[in-house]
């Protein structure tokens, strides 16, 4: 059997004669036809924009094509230098890293803890109900979450401040004060995603062999010891993979979440790279500068992903590639 397969592989590797090629095409052309539309999609919407990345190195002009535009000064790196001299960009870069790191430090463990909790629930129906409710925020858009936050956190009429007022406390400006804004931003992020992100951990937990738990019971381990010595090590590979992805995205920034939550009062903590690019590029029409920023961000993302992956390999974990 194995030998037959090997022969088959060898046969495939030989270059085809014209006749064989014809037979092959006759047999498989349908599959290529099916692939045509998706591949065109990738070519047009994912690869052709990469050509416009050249604008980062050129002086953008609305009347010229990309090829005709003159190269920027400093061997084409004028706009990269400009970006790093731009106070708003440095601020956005700092905020992006800061908010992403906070997200990881505060937010990353939450779904793991939640999954561990759920795993301890014995009542099937109750467990399912908790899950359904916890997944709900994931299905809300950031606009809707912003609407909810306005209602709940608003200084005068918001639910929380109404309660605080009743208890005689001072009004908290959740969305208008730069420092409180960061907490609100992180908190809402966790609120939206912890349930959904726990799915993967729950799946990993269900893959752990029940025999391990039985053996531990025989040895007299309590719930907490089982959690610590069996469940957590069991989901460690999953944790590592997700952590690599999160660390790889430390310079990435979604657009929806920061953009809807920010307002003019909190910009010093709320502007991130994606919103900076939108405001300077699409609204401010500084295409070369913002393309340079975007390119920097993309390359940094790949770099950090590879770095995190390399590091986890060094630590003896599997990594993602």
């Amino acid at each position: 059997m194995a030998r037959a397969r090997k022969q088959e592989v060898q046969k495939e590797k030989k270059p085809l004669t014209k006749e064989e090629l014809w037979i092959y095409v006759k047999r498989y052309w349908q599959l290529y036809l099916l692939l045509l539309a998706p591949m065109l999609y990738f070519l047009i919407f994912k690869y052709s924009p990469m050509y416009y990345v050249l604008i980062a190195f050129k002086k953008y002009s609305i009347v010229q094509s990309v090829a005709e535009m003159p190269w920027a000064k400093n061997h084409g790196f004028e706009y990269f230098l400009k970006a790093f001299k731009n106070k708003d960009f440095i601020n956005a870069l700092r905020n992006t890293i800061f908010l992403n790191l906070l997200d990881i430090i505060v937010g990353f463990p939450v779904p793991i803890i939640f999954a561990l909790l759920l795993n301890e629930l014995r009542l099937k129906f109750f467990k399912k109900t908790v899950q359904t409710v916890a997944y709900m925020p994931h299905f809300l858009s950031w606009v809707i979450i912003y609407g909810l936050a306005l209602q709940v956190f608003s200084p005068n009429t918001g639910l929380i401040n109404m309660v605080i007022e009743k208890l005689g406390g001072e009004t908290i400006h959740f969305l208008d004060d730069p420092n409180n804004w960061v907490k609100t931003y992180i908190g809402l992020g966790i609120w939206q995603s912890f349930g959904w992100n726990s799915i993967i951990y729950l799946a990993a937990i269900s893959g752990i062999s029940p025999e391990l738990y039985e053996a531990a019971s025989v040895d007299g381990a309590n719930r907490f010891q089982k959690m610590w010595h069996i469940t957590l090590p069991g989901i460690r590979p999953t944790i590592v993979v997700l952590l690599i992805l999160a660390l790889g995205n430390v310079l990435g920034s979604g657009f929806d979440r920061p953009y809807v939550l920010q307002n003019n009062l909190v910009m010093k903590n709320a502007e991130v790279i994606s919103t900076f690019v939108y405001k300077y590029g699409i609204k401010g029409l500084q295409f070369s500068l913002t393309t340079a920023v975007g390119l920097f961000q993309s390359i940094a993302n790949v770099f950090f992903l590879l770095l995190a992956n390399w590091f986890s390999r060094k630590m003896g974990e599997r990594g993602i590639m």
């Binding site: 092959y24 539309a37 709900m136 299905f139 609407g147 909810l148 309660v163």
Partner: protein, 277 residues
């Protein structure tokens, strides 16, 4: 103890929604007096009727529903077309195709190059810009491909021997077997389109094509307002409050009605996606 924590978690998840619902159903005087917590006071549905009378909101709601249907259908089609041929190990160039697809997951050109592409394709301010550029998600396609891999080859080979074309095999073997996954992907795509607004914010300036979320964002930011026709001819702040609540509430209802029924399946899908990362 654990049960108590879980109940607390549920309360935290639901509290904002309950508060919002209570506000949307309360009358102005109680809202202004800050007396509405989790139960509506002065129960009335005038906020909803006002919203329903607003032509802008209704049009946007209908347009978004239409967009969601079209996008979901198109995306499912594209995902299937992409995933199915790639499971054939005999297919020459399969590796290249896979590499082409994977690269797009890790590197993208960025906002401005995309914007310029839309400009050159004459898609700016064109309703198609809300449909075509997002019609294939690599992540969802990979989920589908993994599921296709799980279908035994023997089924396919049996059909091949019977002389079925690849198209027939797809239609008669793979699609029927993948219904749960396709339903979940439909949910993912539909939620994505229903909740999406950033593409419209960047590429769409014509207000009649605003998807619902962008309109709501503008309403929340006081750029747009629901037209209130009160007898006095002006709107009270309380009414605006409950209208905002109603607008937000109403647009989430469709999704919240669907997702619990697909829970079993989407858990499976997320897990497949994670394993195949």
């Amino acid at each position: 103890m654990i049960v108590v924590i879980c109940v607390l978690i549920m309360i935290i998840c639901l509290l904002p929604m309950v508060n919002l619902l209570a506000r949307s159903l309360s009358s102005n005087e109680y809202l202004i007096r800050h007396e509405v917590y989790l139960w509506p006071k002065g129960f009335n549905t005038s906020a909803y009727t006002t919203v329903f009378k607003d032509p802008k909101y209704l049009r946007s709601f209908g347009w978004t529903a239409f967009l969601t249907f079209v996008c979901t259908f198109l995306s499912l089609l594209m995902s299937t077309l992409c995933a199915y041929p790639l499971i054939f190990s005999q297919l020459k160039g399969r590796k290249i195709f896979n590499v082409i697809i994977t690269i797009t997951m890790f590197f993208n050109a960025g906002t401005i190059p995309n914007y310029l592409l839309m400009q050159n394709l004459k898609l700016l301010d064109n309703p198609l810009v809300l449909i075509v550029p997002g019609c294939l998600s690599v992540y969802n396609m990979i989920i589908l491909r993994s599921f296709f891999y799980g279908i035994p080859d023997s089924l396919r080979e049996a059909a091949e021997i019977d002389g079925a074309s690849y198209w027939t095999i797809l239609w008669n073997v793979y699609i029927p077997l993948s219904k749960p996954v396709l339903a979940t992907l439909a949910l993912f795509y539909a939620v994505g389109r229903w909740n999406g607004y950033s593409d419209a914010l960047m590429f769409m300036k014509k207000e009649q094509f605003y998807p619902l979320q962008l309109l709501i964002y503008n309403i929340l930011q006081n750029v747009n307002q629901i037209e209130v026709t009160t007898q006095e001819g002006f709107s009270t702040p309380g009414l605006q409050e409950s209208i905002r609540a109603a607008v937000v509430m109403f647009s989430t209802v469709p999704i919240l009605c669907i997702y619990p029924f697909l829970q079993k399946y989407f858990i499976q899908c997320v897990t497949i996606g994670a394993v195949k990362e």
